[in-house]
C-alpha cells in the first residue's frame, strides 16, 4: 500500500513535471494581436524613422546583422548574430570587424540574401547617399567603411576602436534591405516592405493596422511559432486596457503605468502576466544657462539639492512609470554609478535635510532666495507631468515658487530650440542601451546640437572623448564617472529624475517573450508563441 502511494506520488510528480515541461515547450500556430500605443508612423523605413511605432510595426519583417539576445534582452552586452554566423573577434586593434553571413537566407520574394545586401544597407545607414535620410547617422560616426568582398563576407572598418560600436551595430532600426531595390529606388522602403525576417508582409491598413504571416523559409530553425500577427495602432491608453481586458489584443510592447497594471491584474487575475524592468529612458530637468540666475552654478546646484531622489522614486513608482535612482548612465549598465557613488554626489545625498539646508545657503549666497520661475513641460501624461509636479513640490520646500507651462510636442520643441524657457523637463530615451553614446545628451551644444541647456563646456567634451575612446573597461568606467561628476556636480548642467520603469501586462497565453530595458528591442516576435 505504502509503495503504491509512493508510486502514485511519483507518477503524479512525473505527470506534473511533464506537464510543466510541455507547458514551456513552444507550440506553433495562432495569430497574435497586439497594439502599438501610438498613431501610425510617418513611414515604414526603419533607417529614416525614430519612433518606436515604426519598429513595433515592421521589425517582424526584417533581419538585422546582430542583435541583443532575444532570450536575454536585459543584458546590455549579450549580442548575438542574426544574419551572421558567429560574433567575430575584431582585428587591427579592434578597428576591423569581419562578419560571415548565413548561407541560403531568402528574401520574402524568394531570392537569396547576400553580403552585398548587408553592406549596402549598412553603407546607407552610416554614410547615406545625398538626399537620403539616416536618422541615426550620428551613432555610426566611428564607421569608416563597409564592404562585401564576396557573397558571404562583410568587413566593417572603424576610424577608431570603441566599445560603442557593437551596441550601435545592434541598433533595432538597422534593417537589412535588398541592394537591388535600394539602387532602383532609394525611397522604396518608406512605403513598401520586403525583408527576410520571421514574418512576411500581408497588409497595411493606412493609419490602422499591419498584418504579417509566418515566413516558412525563416533561417532560425522552428521559428517563428506564430502563424501570423496583427498590430493595431491604438493611441488611447484607456482603450488599450479595455482591449486587453476583452482580449481584443494580447498586449502592447511599450509600457503601461502602475494604475493600468493594477486594474488589469484585478480584473483578469491569472489570465494576465506582468513583466517589469528598468527602462532606458529618463527625464531631466535642464536649466537654461543663458537665463539669469541659472547661469550661476550655485543656483543650479540648489535646484538639484532640493530634490529628494530616494523618497521621490519610491513614492512616484506607485503612480508613475518611474522607479530607479541613477546618474547619467542607465542604472542597469556596468558603467553606471553605484548607490554608494551616487550618495557622494549632490542631488543624491541620503540626508535630504542636509541637502536642503545647503540649497538654501547656496541660493542666499547667489542672491536668489524665493526665486520665481517657470518649468516648461511637454503635454505627455506619463511620466512627464508627474515628474514636473513632484519637482515643483520639492523646490517649494526651499522657498522657490515654480509654475508649470505645458505645451504640445510641436510648440514644446520650438520653445526648446528658441531657448524660450527657464527650466525644462527634457528626456533621454535611446533605442538600445549604449551608455557611451547615450550620455552624449549631456554634452554642450557645440558637440551635441540637441542639448538645450545652452552652455559651452570644453572640459565636458574632453572628458567624454576620453571615455569614448578608452578600450579598457575599468578605466572607461572611471572616465565615465569623471564625466558624470563634472556634468551633474561640478557644473550641475542638468538635474536627474528617477529612471523609468517598464511595466508590461500581457495575456498569460502569450509566451516566449522577455522584457528588456528598451521598448525598441526584441520586437521581431520570432520567439513568441501562444498557449491557449
Amino acid at each position: 500500500m505504502k509503495i503504491g502511494r509512493v508510486g502514485m506520488a511519483t507518477a503524479l510528480g512525473a505527470c506534473l513535471a511533464f506537464g510543466a515541461v510541455a507547458a514551456d515547450t513552444p507550440k506553433s500556430g495562432g495569430v497574435l494581436t497586439y497594439m502599438i500605443p501610438a498613431d501610425a508612423p510617418p513611414s515604414l523605413d526603419g533607417h529614416r524613422e525614430t519612433t518606436f511605432a515604426t519598429v513595433h510595426a515592421t521589425a517582424p519583417f526584417y533581419s538585422v546583422l546582430i542583435r541583443i539576445n532575444p532570450l536575454n534582452p536585459n543584458s546590455p552586452s549579450d549580442f548575438v548574430c542574426d544574419l551572421c554566423t558567429e560574433m567575430p573577434t575584431p582585428t587591427d586593434g579592434g578597428k576591423t570587424w569581419t562578419f560571415t553571413i548565413r548561407d541560403g537566407v531568402k528574401w520574402h520574394d524568394g531570392s537569396i540574401l547576400t553580403a552585398q545586401d548587408v553592406a549596402a544597407s549598412w553603407q546607407r545607414l552610416a554614410h547615406p547617399p545625398k538626399g537620403i535620410l539616416s536618422a541615426r547617422e550620428a551613432y555610426f560616426t566611428m564607421i569608416e567603411s563597409v564592404a562585401a568582398p564576396d557573397d558571404r563576407t562583410v568587413v566593417i572598418k572603424l576610424k577608431y576602436a570603441t566599445g560603442a560600436f557593437l551596441p550601435a551595430l545592434a541598433d533595432p532600426f538597422a534593417y537589412i534591405y535588398k541592394k537591388d531595390i535600394l539602387e532602383r529606388d532609394p525611397h522604396w522602403y518608406e512605403r513598401n516592405v520586403m525583408g527576410s525576417g520571421p514574418f512576411r508582409f500581408v497588409e497595411l491598413q493606412t493609419g490602422q493596422s499591419v498584418k504579417g504571416q509566418r515566413n516558412p523559409d525563416y533561417y532560425h530553425k522552428g521559428q517563428p511559432y506564430l502563424d501570423g500577427f496583427v498590430a493595431i495602432f491604438a493611441a488611447a491608453q484607456a482603450l488599450r486596457i479595455d482591449a486587453i481586458r476583452a482580449d481584443r489584443a494580447a498586449t502592447e510592447f511599450r509600457g503601461m503605468p502602475p494604475s493600468s497594471r493594477d486594474q488589469l491584474v484585478k480584473e483578469l487575475g491569472d489570465r494576465i502576466t506582468v513583466q517589469t524592468n528598468p527602462w532606458n529612458c529618463v527625464n531631466l530637468l535642464t536649466p537654461n544657462h543663458k537665463r539669469k540666475p541659472f547661469d550661476d552654478v550655485r543656483v543650479r546646484r540648489a535646484l538639484a539639492l532640493a530634490i529628494d531622489q530616494w523618497k521621490g522614486a519610491a513614492a512616484l513608482s506607485k503612480i508613475a512609470n518611474v522607479r530607479t535612482v541613477g546618474g547619467v548612465v542607465f542604472p542597469g549598465s556596468p558603467l553606471a554609478a553605484t548607490q554608494a557613488e551616487l550618495h557622494e554626489m549632490i542631488g543624491f545625498w541620503p540626508d535630504v535635510e542636509k541637502s536642503r539646508a545647503e540649497a538654501k545657503r547656496l541660493l542666499k549666497e547667489a542672491g536668489a532666495e524665493g526665486l520665481k520661475f517657470e518649468l516648461l513641460n511637454r503635454n505627455i501624461d506619463q511620466p512627464y507631468k508627474y515628474i514636473a509636479t513632484w519637482a515643483i513640490d520639492e523646490w517649494s520646500k526651499i522657498g522657490l515658487q515654480v509654475t508649470q507651462r505645458v505645451l504640445p510636442t510641436g510648440p514644446f520643441f520650438d520653445a526648446l530650440r528658441s531657448s524660450n524657457f527657464d527650466v525644462t523637463v527634457e528626456f533621454n530615451c535611446q533605442g538600445l542601451v549604449n551608455p557611451l553614446l547615450d550620455i552624449a545628451k549631456f554634452l554642450p551644444k557645440t558637440a551635441y546640437p540637441e542639448n538645450f541647456g545652452n552652455y559651452e563646456d570644453d572640459k565636458a567634451i574632453a572628458l567624454y572623448e576620453a571615455a569614448l575612446q578608452e578600450p579598457d573597461p575599468a578605466k572607461q568606467r572611471e572616465k565615465v564617472r569623471a564625466f558624470e561628476i563634472h556634468s551633474l556636480v561640478t557644473e550641475a548642467h542638468a538635474i536627474m529624475t528617477p529612471w523609468w520603469e517598464r511595466i508590461l501586462p500581457a495575456r498569460s497565453y502569450m509566451k516566449g517573450w522577455k522584457i528588456g530595458p528598451s521598448h525598441y528591442v526584441n520586437q521581431d516576435l520570432a520567439t513568441i508563441w501562444i498557449d491557449k
Binding site: 535620410l133 536618422a135 491598413q205 490602422q208
Partner: protein, 323 residues
Amino acid sequence: MYLYIIKRVLLVIPTLIGAAALVFLLMRLIPGDVCVIRLGSSGGTFDPKAVALCHQELGMNRPIWVQFFDFMWGIVRFDFGTSMWSGKPVTTEIWARLPVSLEIALLGSVLATVIAIPLGTLSALRQNSWLDVFVRVFAIGGIATPSFWLGIISLLIVLDLTSFFLGAAWMPPIDYVPFFEDPIRNLSMVLLPAITIGYRYSAITMRMTRSTMLEVMREDYIRTARAKGLIHKLIINRHALKNAMLPVVTLIGIEFAFLIGGLVVTEQVFNLNGVGRLFVQAVQNQDYTLTQALVMMTVVVFVFCNLVVDLLYAWLDPRIRYS
C-alpha cells in the same frame, strides 16, 4: 432652380480660396516644425543634418510666398500634394479614413432622426404630460453629457455586463472592417459609437422639434384647419410637421457636416480610424499639406450640406422658390 444650384456651387470657389489662405497662414503661425517632431519627439538622438534634409525634401526651405502660390496652384488643379508626415498623397490619407467617418455620421444621423422627430413631436403635442417630462429630461441629459465620456462609460458598461453575464469581458473590435467585407463585425464596431454620438445629436434635434412644433401648433392656419374639421392626424402630418421641420432640417444638416470631421474624441475613445482623428494628428504633427486639405474638405462638406438643406426647404415649404 438649376441656376440657383449653379450659383451656389460657384460661390464655393471664393469660400475655398478664403479658407485656403487663412489655413495656410494660421498653420505657419503655430510654433514648431514637422521635421523636428518627426525626428526628435521619441527622445532619441538625431542629426541636425537630418532636419535640414527633411526641410529640403518637404520644400520647407523655400520662401513662404513660393509655398503659398504652389499650394494655391495645387488647389486649382485639385492637387493637394503629399502629406508632410507620411509622404503619401493626402487624398490617399483622407480616402482611407472617410468611410469610417461617413458610416458613423450616417448611422448617428439616422438614429438621431428616428428617435428625435417622433419623440419631439409627441412631446410638443402632449405638452406637460409625463411623456413630455421624460423627453425633456432625456434631451437635457443628452446635451449635458459629453460624447467622449458617454463613449468611455458605455464601453465600461458593456465590458462589465458581459463579464458578469458571460464570464468574459467583451467589447467592440478595435480595427475597422468595411461593411461589405464583414457586416456583423463592422456593425458591432460602429454601433456603439453611433449610439454615443446619436444620443447628443438626437437630444438637440428633439428639443428643436419640440419647440418648433409648439410654435407651429399655435399658428392661425392650424387653428383654421382644426376649425374646418380636418382630422388631427392630417393636421399634424401635412400642416404642422412639414412647417416645423425647416429649422430641424437645418440643424440636421449642420450636425451631419460636423460629424464628418469633428468626431475627434469619440474616434479616439473607440479607436476609429476616422477623419477627425486624422485632423488632430495632422495639426499635432504640423503636417501643413494634410491639414490644409482637410480644412478644404470640411468647407466643401459644409457647403454641400447647406445646399442640400436649402433644396429641402423648397420641398418642405412650397412658398420658397429659388429663381
